[in-house]
């Protein structure tokens, strides 16, 4: 949601249909996503040349399942081991509370400028807007996030925030906002951004990062990145605040390599990323660098309520690789902003209803043809299509009722339609009679069927149903045998 970024294009899940319409009509958006997603799909496939993909996915799923099965225990262990390492641990029930905690840390240190590594949880809780309202400037240091921030937008992808922009658009943004000379040379643009960011790292009072894996047994925070901005964010400023959802905990240090392998291969098709940071304490006595304080803010924001449901729980396995987006035929066509949520695409459609309620996100669980591509590539085997169906049940009031806004899509008209379908499909004689009548009146069959026939011709009932054809066929056969 970017509703709080005044004066720029805003997106909300309530307007999914309108936003999809706009995106579908925008050839630039269509081309940018198609090209990027095709590239990412090919890279992912190529990257599993050294590991058996299915074996690794099975392992990854089991590691995440084991962690979730022991989540409360592991969180306590994580807290104890982090504290023992000198990392201060904070608990936040929601994004608002997490924002206040981080603002408090900034204020304690008199920080007026914060440098940020990539963190989707900070996007989810609108940390930048919160800090800015308190007079604290928050600057994104991930290149994609930086560009999106310059352009007053929100990320359109969880791994590649500026994937909706092409080279020319980026050049234009950098020219407009930073005075960088227009160029199509990507290296030159990167170098310019690096120069601009470098100065800001030095002046920041606090560095805020996300966490990819929080290891309970050692109290270690793992951070996966490619640009070195994560390392700068977590080492240059005197204070480092890591913020993450409570589900990111894993039990053992040995759980990290398989998950890391899955994450980088699934996300960008890399065997390893350029940087992999393991943060286990603030600067120790006698050390020359590193932050003097490290904080960990663990955010719930609806996650513990997902945890209560043994089906929906699988949503929390996610390691945020974005492969489901890259492979989703819907996401590829409408792009990330259309969803109007922090997490777009298939994972967003099963996670956002818990974060924002079904009233806001009612159109997301249906924004899938259930083609199964997301579930097929998910590195931790989240049954995304099944969870989409589960949320559809919740939306129409036929689930367990434990998602906020359950039943919001139940309409008398639709219930009547499905009851009618049920009646017909459980009364075979009526079904056969109805189908037979439809066949006989086929010349009268409608040639316009709402949205369907805007793009396709209408299907026409066959003159004789299969039921009737089989009957005729069997009768003819018996006849022949008797003769």
């Amino acid at each position: 949601m970017s509703e709080q970024t005044a004066g720029v294009q805003t997106f909300t899940p309530r307007e999914f249909h309108r936003q999809a319409h706009d995106a579908l009509g925008n050839p630039q958006i269509r081309a940018n996503f198609r090209k990027a997603m095709d590239g990412l799909m090919a890279k992912r496939l190529d990257s599993f040349d050294d590991w058996d993909l299915e074996t690794l996915r099975e392992l990854g799923a089991n590691i995440r399942l084991r962690a979730l099965a022991r989540l409360p225990d592991l969180l306590e262990k994580l807290e104890a081991n982090c504290e023992a390492n000198g990392i201060k641990v904070h608990w936040a029930e929601d994004g608002e509370q997490a924002c206040r905690i981080i603002r408090g840390i900034c204020e304690d240190h008199g920080a007026t400028s914060v440098i940020k590594g990539k963190s989707m949880v900070s996007e989810e809780m609108h940390l930048n807007a919160h800090l800015e309202a308190a007079g604290i400037e928050a600057l994104e240091s991930d290149l994609g996030e930086y560009l999106v921030q310059l352009n007053q937008q929100t990320p359109s992808h969880i791994i590649m925030p500026a994937i909706h922009l092409n080279t020319d658009e980026i050049s234009e943004i950098m020219h407009d906002k930073t005075g960088t000379e227009r160029t199509r040379d990507v290296d030159a643009m990167t170098a310019a951004a690096r120069q601009q960011l470098r100065e800001r790292f030095m002046g920041a009072g606090v560095g805020v990062s996300g966490v990819n894996f929080a290891v309970a047994e050692t109290g270690t925070l793992c951070l996966v990145e490619n640009e070195g901005n994560g390392r700068m964010t977590t080492t240059v400023p005197p204070v480092h605040v890591a913020v993450t959802g409570i589900e990111k905990v894993v039990e053992h240090l040995r759980d990290v390599p398989p998950l890391y392998s899955l994450l980088t291969r699934s996300a960008t098709g890399q065997h390893v990323t350029t940087y992999f940071n393991m943060i286990s304490s603030p600067r120790k006595e006698g050390e020359h660098d590193g932050p003097k304080e490290v904080h960990l803010v663990l955010v719930d924001s609806g996650r513990s309520s997902i945890y209560q449901d043994n089906e929906l729980l699988d949503t929390l396995r996610c390691i945020r690789c974005g492969a489901c987006m890259n492979h989703c035929p819907v996401y590829t066509r409408v792009g990330g902003h259309t969803y109007g949520t922090t997490y777009p695409g298939p994972i967003g459609s099963i996670l956002s209803p818990h974060l924002m309620g079904l009233e806001e996100t009612r159109d997301l669980p249906t924004a899938s043809s259930l083609c199964g591509a997301c579930g097929e590539v998910c590195p931790v085997k989240i049954p995304i299509p099944d969870l989409l169906v589960r949320l559809r049940r919740e939306s129409v009031g036929e689930g367990r009722g434990n998602v906020a806004g359950a039943g919001i899509k139940r309409t008398r008209k639709e219930v009547a339609a499905w009851k009618g379908f049920q009646w017909l499909a459980t009364h075979p004689a009526a079904w056969r009679a109805g189908a037979s009548v439809a066949g006989r009146l086929r010349a009268l069959a409608p040639t316009r069927l709402g949205a369907w026939t805007q793009h396709r011709s209408a299907p026409r009932p066959a003159a004789t149903t299969l039921h009737a054809l089989v009957k005729q066929y069997q009768a003819a056969k018996t006849d022949k045998e008797e003769r």
């Binding site: 043809s369 591509a373 036929e398 049920q422 499909a425 949205a451 793009h455 396709r456 299969l466 039921h467």
Partner: protein, 251 residues
């Protein structure tokens, strides 16, 4: 991923679950499935009380209605014979989702038993019948569109193409992004018509670009969607159910 399935020896009899789309729109595909199976020496039983597997209600979230419709199908297959479904979508519903749908109910055991006997038609022809085909048709170039449910839910990406590849005169070509959804998705096409239209537009372009004038599928939902798009544009590309295509070329 579907679990490893152990295929039985060729049975004397099978049931055919014709699916509602075939029943109402493409009945010849059902008849051709019967003819193919009978030619293999298998007697085909067609319970006249069958209607729909219940999937449209199921994927729309109408769980109770879907369960009632599914329950009405469960009693139709009392013998121990395999149940052949000429659709990956309905087959996937019955094999994968019936056990989930009835979990914790009195019908759980029966639903699982029925689910265990579900075979998609091309799967059965390849893995149980070991079908031998003698192609009598003219040389032709065709594209196979395997439905997402056949491909991903039932794990049957290869059986359709394998049958077409066995036709000596048929050149099987692959469209770009062959594994991408055509945009049908049942009620998805109705609830998100514009997104669905963008998907089917890309799919028809990819098929057309191969130069083939015919696409073969084992799912009538995809056929109605892709074929409907071609027809509306006045294009010469036609869709055909794999059962009809196989029967037509080998009879």
């Amino acid at each position: 991923m579907t679990a490893v399935k152990f295929y039985p020896p060729r049975p004397d009899k099978v049931y055919l679950f014709g699916t509602c789309l075939i029943d109402l729109l493409y009945p010849e595909a059902g008849m051709d499935a019967i003819r193919l199976l009978e030619r293999e020496g298998i007697e085909v039983l067609f319970p006249q009380d069958q209607t729909c597997c219940g999937q449209p209600a199921y994927t729309s979230g109408y769980q109770h209605e879907a369960r009632a419709v599914a329950a009405a199908q469960l009693d139709l297959f009392p013998g121990p014979w395999p149940i052949i479904v000429p659709s990956g979508s309905c087959g996937g519903m019955m094999r994968k989702h019936y056990p989930q749908l009835f979990a914790g109910t009195d019908l759980e055991e029966q639903a699982s038993e029925v689910a265990g006997r579900i075979f998609e038609l091309t799967e059965f022809l390849v893995h149980v019948c070991h079908l031998d085909l003698e192609d009598r048709g003219e040389p032709e170039k065709v594209v196979m569109h395997t439905s997402c449910s056949a491909r991903r839910e039932m794990g049957l990406a290869d059986t359709g193409p394998a049958l077409l590849a066995a036709l000596g005169q048929v050149e099987l070509v692959e469209q770009a992004r062959a594994s991408e959804c055509c945009g049908f998705g049942g009620t998805f096409a109705v609830r998100h018509p514009e997104v669905s239209a963008a998907m089917v537009e890309d799919k028809t372009r990819a098929i057309e670009a191969t130069g083939a004038r015919r696409f073969i599928t084992s799912d009538c939902g995809c056929m109605m969607n892709i074929g409907g798009r071609f027809e509306q544009q006045g294009k010469a590309v036609k869709g055909e159910h794999i059962a009809s295509y196989l029967w037509r070329r080998t009879s």
